[in-house]
């Protein structure tokens, strides 16, 4: 029953959005609900994981002040608990695809690749945010604005084809776009992700992780003084 609830939320969300958008804007996309749900799945995970990771150190301040605990554990636990929700949403997506009789291709078996990328990308961003938010609390508010902007720069609800050329370039610069396109390719389009996009995603994930870990390890001894 509990599992059912967790997939219910993304399902309802998808129903609402697909009703709104298939009536309001007429995007020429086959299986629009699936397109939308897959975009939501990736982006909502990123949002949830990074936002909750951001508060991981501050929220566990009382504990950090009293006992020695490796501090990255708190960030890790937040991101991985969001990953459980990601798997629940993924199950919901599969159900919707079955209900809408979307053809499932063998490329679906490649889905761990984009999921792996988005989890570790979010982890890297989350570690970085968790470390800097301890010192600068108002990043929390700024970040929620940033995420909203980022959502519109990710093709979650709209197809890439409606974008003018200059905007398309910007949207493609967003690392989440690349991962999302990869995800949709294997789920819906029966396409194997190209080597370039895999390498690009891997490089971006490595870069973000390295930056996050560097800042975190550099700052972690001063956390306790700022909490």
């Amino acid at each position: 029953m509990g599992v059912f609830w967790t997939i219910l939320n993304p399902l309802f969300m998808m129903v609402v959005l697909s009703v709104v958008f298939s009536n309001l804007f007429k995007f020429d996309i086959e299986y629009f609900p699936v397109y939308l749900l897959s975009g939501q799945l990736i982006f909502n995970f990123y949002n949830e994981a990074t936002t909750s990771a951001m508060g991981a150190i501050i929220d566990n301040g009382p504990l950090i002040k009293k006992i020695y605990v490796p501090k990255y554990v708190f960030v890790l636990s937040r991101v991985f608990s969001s990953s459980i929700n990601l798997l629940a949403s993924f199950t919901a997506l599969i159900f919707v695809m079955l209900a809408m009789r979307v053809e499932l291709h063998y490329t679906v078996l490649l889905v761990p690749i984009p999921l792996f990328f988005i989890v570790f990308f979010s982890l890297g961003v989350g570690i970085l945010l968790a470390a800097v938010t301890v010192k600068f609390r108002d990043i929390m508010h700024l970040y929620s604005v940033f995420v909203t902007a980022l959502m519109y720069l990710t093709p979650v609800i709209y197809p890439m084809s409606i974008l003018p050329e200059w905007l398309e370039k910007i949207v493609l610069l967003n690392p989440i776009t690349n991962i999302l396109i990869m995800f949709r390719d294997v789920m819906m389009n029966n396409a194997v992700p190209s080597i370039t996009s895999v390498l690009l995603a891997a490089a971006e994930v490595l870069l973000v992780m390295a930056a996050g870990l560097y800042v975190f390890y550099k700052r972690q001894d001063t956390f306790i003084l700022d909490i």
Partner: protein, 245 residues
Amino acid sequence: MENMDIISVDHVSMRFRLASEKVDSLKEYFIKTLKSQISTNEFWALKDVSFQIQKGDALGLIGLNGSGKSTMLKIIAGVLKPTKGSVAVRGEVAPLIELGAGFDYDLTASENIFLNGALMGRSHEEMESHYEGIVEFSELKDFIDVPVKNFSSGMIARLAFAIATIGTPDILICDEVLSVGDFRFQEKCHKRIGEMLERGTTLLFVSHSIEQVEGLCNKAVWLEHGNVKMFGECKEIAEIYRTAY
């Protein structure tokens, strides 16, 4: 000789920035940078503190409020990193710095036993084997499935003490813990600490009560305003301490 020191504190200094000077948002940071108000008003809680503890010693930290006792304990427990100097600890530390640290107040007592165990790096199986002992020592058999938020402070203290003192840790750190709980429970704690000392645990003990320190410890460090005023045999220091205050 060097290897005999289970804890060696080497020229440790600890600096805190005073709360009024703290910048904790980007907004303040920018405004203060523009107005060039970022000042460095510092407070040294510890200044060049050094001492060594041998295995099996019981060391009492004494001093007035604000003399740096708790900061010293936190540095030894690894919670704080010293600004200067280093601390080498050889062995497993059971910290009792604040009773009830690491409790999730929404969980029940029995769940908290395992949660706290995990925080100290003990496996579920290990805690399972100590479970009965903890319940018995804390005398909370009837309340074991009650969320900890409904506990009285004495009950929390009992539970926390029971969890922290399971097994025989190499080093036990106690910060004014024994001032909570009733007389009978204090006795019980003293007895337990005594037993642990006999089994070779090293004790670090902080208290205002010089009697408690004298009763438990063989060595003492007297801190005053972050400096070591005296370090040596507990009896001698206790006498001077008493006459000083």
